[in-house]
């Protein structure tokens, strides 16, 4: 395709553009909070439990540790667990998504709040993933891959399984539709090139 065809120079009034801020987003599924709580706090709670149990074991080294004033050892992991739980709660309240005619909008983050917009025409492929815990909680993640490196991939977490499947299907249909469009424009370009020859 000629560069001239890609390039357009028409003035676009910003106020007439579709504004992603005006879109009403759908909050993530209710099951997302328990999933986030378990995955983010369980490790630290286990660590705290280990720190509580260890001094009770009949080993001299632990007695020495208690004597040396290491009684506070369970507190840091417990503190992290509490912070992680608060974070998960706030995150679950803010996390939301929406599908527009031509793109997917996903909002997440607690301190750094991000709103990501991915046009369907730029998605290379889509993947739906769910682990054992997600299966139990009826959740699913949808991963959207675009060009621009691996960190550019967007994972939409917290969709219930039915929504995730619908989203994946919708995305695949839209990608196929835009790919057809690509092929048509490609054919047109090739034809015009042949005519030029």
């Amino acid at each position: 395709m000629e560069q001239g065809e890609i390039f357009s120079n028409e003035k676009v009034d910003a106020s007439t553009l579709p504004d992603f801020q005006r879109v009403e987003l759908t909050p993530v599924a209710d099951a997302y909070l328990p999933w986030a709580l378990i995955t983010q706090t369980l490790f630290w709670l286990l660590l705290a439990a280990v720190a509580v149990v260890l001094p009770l074991l009949p080993f001299e080294i632990f007695d020495v540790m208690v004597a040396m004033g290491f009684w506070w050892l369970p507190l840091p992991p417990l503190g992290v667990a509490v912070i992680a739980a608060v974070h998960a709660r706030l995150d679950a309240r803010y996390r939301a998504w929406a599908l527009r005619e031509h793109d997917l909008i996903y909002r997440y983050g607690v301190v750094w709040r991000k709103t990501v917009i991915v046009p369907f025409a730029r998605i290379q492929h889509v993947e739906a993933v769910h682990g054992p815990l997600e299966r139990y909680l009826d959740l699913m993640r949808v991963k959207c891959f675009t060009a621009g490196g691996m960190t550019a991939d967007l994972t939409v977490k917290g969709l219930d399984r039915a929504s995730a499947r619908r989203v994946r299907q919708y995305l695949l249909e839209q990608i196929a539709a835009s790919a057809d469009g690509d092929e048509q424009t490609d054919e047109q370009a090739q034809e015009s090139a042949r005519e030029a020859d």
Partner: protein, 508 residues
């Protein structure tokens, strides 16, 4: 000359076997350099071995290398299959690769000096998805390489007719590197002086200094012994006796040597550099010891970056890197395999519009918010002052050092100010420019229609002050415009998404 039938299986040239052995050996040494030089263990190991064992080991290694290269050479074959190139290679694991011409974004030909007597070239193909060069034919005849290149250009480009209209066929373009012609296809032909100064101002000089320091550091003991053995230490001793003047002269000559070396390396790398516009693609040719030809398809160019290093700023010299889709996470070597155009001055900036239609270097950039400076100034100063106050109180005998540290704080604050001054952005006619830097400058330019994703990021500080950052994912990587007004950020994201959704351009 009999035309080459590209549809039949082609093999590497017989002489390529020799180069495979040499390159394989060089690669082995390069990859195991740490084992040899890193800890000095290699030398200690060699000291304990006798010459006979060493030679025997070397001979076995050579035999293995020859055997591996011979099998690789024998199994290596390629041919054109319809709209694709197919390649079979491998030693233990056979790899069968088929790449459609439409996916190819770069075709490269290089001719190291030792290839020239045999008329061989190294032929490479790059696609957006691969981490490194996808296809490398390490030693085929020049005729075969040119036939392949032209076939790929015809099949993948579709607009080769334009090139022949201008009476500059690709072959002529390669052969006529040194010829001064007035043809319009030449976009840039920097002279030797510009190429030399490119070496001076490019950051390559620091790389050379770093490698030199590492090598000297690693081999210091041996180096000192060697210096002793050739009696240079007497000269060094004499220099030390001469004092500050000699030390200064020594450092100065070392710096001059480094810069001179960097300039000469640049001259060797880009010798006779010419960039031509062949309609559907750009052709860059240059190099003294390794004559390289890069064919970049115009439609595969997704943006460009103008760089000006701190030293380049002093003499007003820039260089340009054409950007393409990549799967690399970080830009390891921004000058390495990229499409680099050296030796640009401000009056050469019209090249930007000729490389990418509709692009022009903006005279002025929109600044980012002053809050960028305020935030970092206030946070860093607060932490530094609290620490300094504590140190002043607790360590009365270290007060001079604390005062010195506060002087350093002023330097940091000035650096933050410089960084803020360098940040800038501009959107005009669907083309976005983002500028950043500290002492040097970097200007990224891309069409908004190339955007793959747009994110608007807001921290609590941003929310309090009505600010936001915009992160745009492009085929060539990510760019960020930090600390801009929320309305501007939303507008930029909306424009980018609208441009991407209404663009006729394909997925990369």
């Amino acid at each position: 000359m009999r035309p080459i039938d590209l549809n039949t299986w082609q093999r590497l040239a017989p002489m390529a076997l020799l180069f495979l052995i040499i390159n394989g050996g060089a690669k082995f040494v390069r990859e195991n350099l740490y084992a040899f030089a890193g800890a000095g263990a290699g030398f200690a190991f060699l000291d304990r071995l006798g010459m006979r064992e060493f030679l025997l080991g070397g001979l076995i290694a050579l035999l293995v290398a020859v055997l591996i290269a011979a099998i690789y050479h024998r199994r290596f074959r390629f041919r054109i299959e319809g709209d694709a190139i197919r390649l079979r290679r491998g030693i233990i694991e056979n790899k069968d690769l088929r790449i459609r011409f439409a996916r190819i974004q770069n075709v490269g030909l290089s001719q190291p000096i030792y290839f020239r007597p045999f008329g061989l070239v190294r032929f490479t193909l790059e696609t957006p998805g691969a981490e490194s060069t996808e296809v490398a034919l390490p030693g085929i005849s020049r005729e075969l390489a040119l036939a392949l290149r032209d076939h790929i250009a015809r099949a993948g480009g579709g607009a080769i007719a334009e090139a022949s209209d201008e009476d500059v066929t690709a072959e002529e373009a390669v052969e006529d590197v040194g010829r001064e012609t007035g043809d319009t296809a030449v976009l840039h032909r920097p002279g030797s002086l510009r190429l030399f100064t490119h070496g001076l101002v490019s950051n390559q000089v620091w790389l050379i200094a770093g490698v030199g320091a590492w090598l000297i550091g690693t081999l210091r003991e041996r180096f000192e012994q060697w210096i002793d053995s050739i009696g240079v230490s007497l000269v060094a001793q004499r220099l030390i006796e001469l004092g500050w003047v000699a030390a200064l002269a020594g450092v100065l000559s070392l710096v001059l040597l480094l810069f001179g070396l960097s300039g000469v390396l640049s001259l060797i790398r880009f010798h006779g550099f010419v960039l031509r516009d062949l309609g559907d693609r750009f052709l860059a040719v240059g190099g003294l010891l390794d004559k390289r030809e890069q064919n970049i398809r115009r439609e595969k160019l997704t943006g460009l970056t103008l760089y000006q290093t701190a030293l380049g700023r002093l003499i007003g010299q820039w260089y340009l890197v054409g950007k393409q889709a990549t799967s690399k996470e970080v830009e390891v070597d921004r000058s390495g395999q990229n499409f680099l155009i050296p030796g640009l001055r401000k009056d050469n900036f019209d090249i930007v519009a000729r490389l990418m239609e509709g692009f022009s270097v903006p005279d002025e950039m929109r600044p980012i918010s002053r809050r960028f400076r305020t935030l970092f100034w206030s946070r860093i100063s607060a932490v530094a002052l609290v620490l300094a106050g504590l140190a002043f109180w607790q360590l009365p005998d270290q007060r001079l050092a604390v005062a010195g540290a506060l002087g350093l704080l002023l330097l940091v604050l000035w650096l933050i100010h410089r960084s803020w001054r360098c940040w800038g952005w501009q959107v005009a006619d669907g083309v976005c420019w983002i500028q950043q830097g500290l002492f040097g400058l970097r200007r990224d330019a891309f069409e908004l229609s190339q955007v793959q994703q747009a994110s608007v990021v807001r921290t609590p500080y941003f929310r309090r002050h009505g600010l936001a950052s915009v992160r745009l994912v492009l085929p060539q990587g990510q760019v960020t415009v930090p600390f801009i007004a929320l309305d501007d950020a939303v507008d930029l994201a909306n424009r980018a998404i609208h441009a991407a959704e209404t663009s006729l351009a394909h997925r990369v």
